[in-house]
């Protein structure tokens, strides 16, 4: 439902902005080549990022013999797994900042597949509103 998804965004408009990212888990492999960018990021920039964004909890977990990934968990309970396999340090930084700016809403097209010039004024019929006949 588009309306329930938009309510999360309206929270920002009403008051102050709240970062929707709750937790970041950076999973790297200490030996694998695909993890190189993430390892450089972890050794270099992640502490600075954590200091600048105290609202986010950051875990760094070694995950041997597997490709690196970031697991992001948001305030609305949704989690997102991003593969950062073979990305450079700069690209990893971009991904992390993207997640920090994201809301947890699942991405879906909000297009309506119908159009009418004369929409229903009284509301579409539905079985739950069926007006009980009164004598």
């Amino acid at each position: 439902m588009a309306s329930t998804r938009l309510t999360v965004l309206t929270q920002f408009v009403k008051g102050r902005y709240i970062c929707q990212l709750q937790r970041l888990t950076l999973q790297y492999c200490s030996k694998g080549g695909s993890s190189r960018g993430l390892r450089e990021y972890v050794n270099g920039e992640v502490v600075g990022f954590a200091k600048k964004n105290p609202q986010v909890v950051i875990y760094v977990r070694p995950r041997p013999y597997r490709h690196p990934r970031i697991v992001a968990e948001f305030l609305n309970g949704k989690s997102k797994v991003v593969s950062i396999k073979n990305l450079s340090q700069a690209e990893v930084r971009n991904k992390v900042e993207q997640l920090r700016d994201a809301s947890g809403i699942t991405r879906r097209k909000m297009k309506k597949w119908w159009h009418t010039d004369s929409p229903s004024i009284q509301g579409l019929w539905n079985p739950f509103d069926s007006l009980p006949y009164k004598n």
Partner: protein, 124 residues
Amino acid sequence: KMRGGTVDRSIRRAKIFALTKGFRGRPKNCYSLAIRAAHKALQHAYRGRKLKKRDMRSLWITRISNAAQEQNLPYSKFVHNMARLEIQLNRKILSELAIYEPRSFQALADLARKRQKDGLLSAL
């Protein structure tokens, strides 16, 4: 290979093949089969144009009947009293009202019920 074939033949055939576009199997590509398939398709289309009008009307009637039953009014009484009240709404519009403007439909059902009662009273 066309031996002494005229241009007219390919033009004539192209008209048939234009009708058999999208058909399954050889009828869309082989001329002798395509003629038969095309003519049958045209017959089906002729019949379908007449059937469509019947089918739509019966769909509208089903919908109106269900909407009127929600108002505890049988379709026959609803339609009969619409006619007695000289309300010129046809079944297509009545079915659309039932879907998109249910309150209006309820108002019509109330009118029909009232006319039905008045009709009974005047007969007494």
